[in-house]
């Protein structure tokens, strides 16, 4: 999986997730998420090119949401593919994730 970053001054960033967010890629993606959450207050995750998300990937997104909540930042999910939207609905995550 690849993550591209686009800085949105003064304190925002947009991350473009591309590929599969699964048990293999979730740990490294989780590290990137945590670093980003420490540095930026406004984070947007663009999931448009996300091909697959596993439960491990879902957990890394949940961890990011919790980190952002702790630091008082703002996390938005955008461009969500239908399959990922269904996963959010199935698990009830759409209730507390901010979705554009």
């Amino acid at each position: 999986m690849t993550i591209k970053m686009l800085k949105l001054p003064p304190d925002g960033v947009k991350l473009f997730l591309n590929g599969r967010l699964d048990a293999n890629s979730a740990p490294s993606a989780g590290e990137v998420f945590l670093k980003v959450a420490e540095e930026y207050a406004k984070i947007t995750l663009d999931l448009g090119a996300l091909e697959y998300i596993s439960s491990a990937g879902l957990r890394s997104l949940l961890s990011l949401q919790k980190q952002v909540d702790r630091t008082g930042g703002d996390l938005t999910f955008s461009n969500i593919p239908p399959a990922v939207a269904e996963v959010f609905e199935l698990t009830g995550f759409n209730a507390f994730l901010k979705i554009e």
Binding site: D22, A23, A26, S54, S55, L58, E86, T91, G92
Partner: protein
């Protein structure tokens, strides 16, 4: 004896009713997991099936025989149990790699056992209508039990999602088995086995809402 018979018909209705209405109160709210809402629908089908039997008993004085809509309650409940675990839920926890092949194969055991029970129904000396309706109603038990067993067994590394709902999957598997046993026992006129399977279903209807509530709460932790 007549009172005992009436009580034995009423008890599953009360248990299924509790399971359905309590879980509907818990999960039919905005923002609740669709997974849980599908399980509520399964309990709703079970309740409607029991309600039909009790109403029939009150009106006709006997339990329904031959073709009746109660079979659709069984079919519906099993279909909803299957739908909850199928597709997105399954893709979420199993990316389709070779690593989980052993667990997938092991999960075939319950559906094979249920298929064997269905062969017993097909060969039972009961009226053809009852036999074929039972087989039709139980058909979704095969995929439902496969996915329930698979999600019960799959190893849980980062997959907290499955770990949290393993008790529910055990209940779902029990519900598939108990419904199959109940109909198989009815076709074979094994009253004790039928009563036992009904009692197990009633107990599971009482358990499922709480077990599911705790599991889904863990998803958010």
């Amino acid at each position: 004896m007549k009172h005992l018979y009436a009580l034995w018909t009423l008890l599953p209705l009360l248990c299924a009713g509790f399971g359905f209405f309590y879980s509907a109160w818990l999960f039919f709210r905005k923002g609740q997991a669709l997974f849980a809402q599908l399980v509520v629908c399964a309990l709703g089908c079970l309740w409607l099936r029991r309600l039909f039997s009790v109403v029939w008993l009150l009106v006709q004085g006997t339990l329904p025989e031959g073709f009746h809509v109660g079979y659709f309650g069984i079919f519906g409940s099993l279909m909803f149990l299957f739908s909850a675990n199928y597709d997105q839920m399954d893709h979420l926890v199993d990316s389709g790699g070779k690593a989980f092949r052993l667990w997938r194969l092991t999960a075939l055991a319950p559906p094979l056992l249920l298929a064997a029970a269905m062969v017993c129904i097909a060969l039972a000396p009961c009226p053809a209508q009852e036999r074929w309706m039972s087989l039709f109603a139980l058909l979704p038990a095969i995929p439902a039990s496969y996915y329930a067993c698979k999600h019960l067994l799959l190893p849980d590394e980062a997959m907290w999602l499955l770990e949290a709902i393993r008790p529910y999957q055990l209940c779902a598997l029990g519900l598939c088995a108990a419904q199959t046993l109940e109909l198989a026992a009815a076709c074979r006129e094994l009253a004790c086995l039928e009563a036992g399977a009904t009692a197990v279903q009633s107990a599971l209807c009482l358990l499922i809402p709480e077990v599911l509530k705790r599991g889904i709460k863990k998803w958010m932790c």
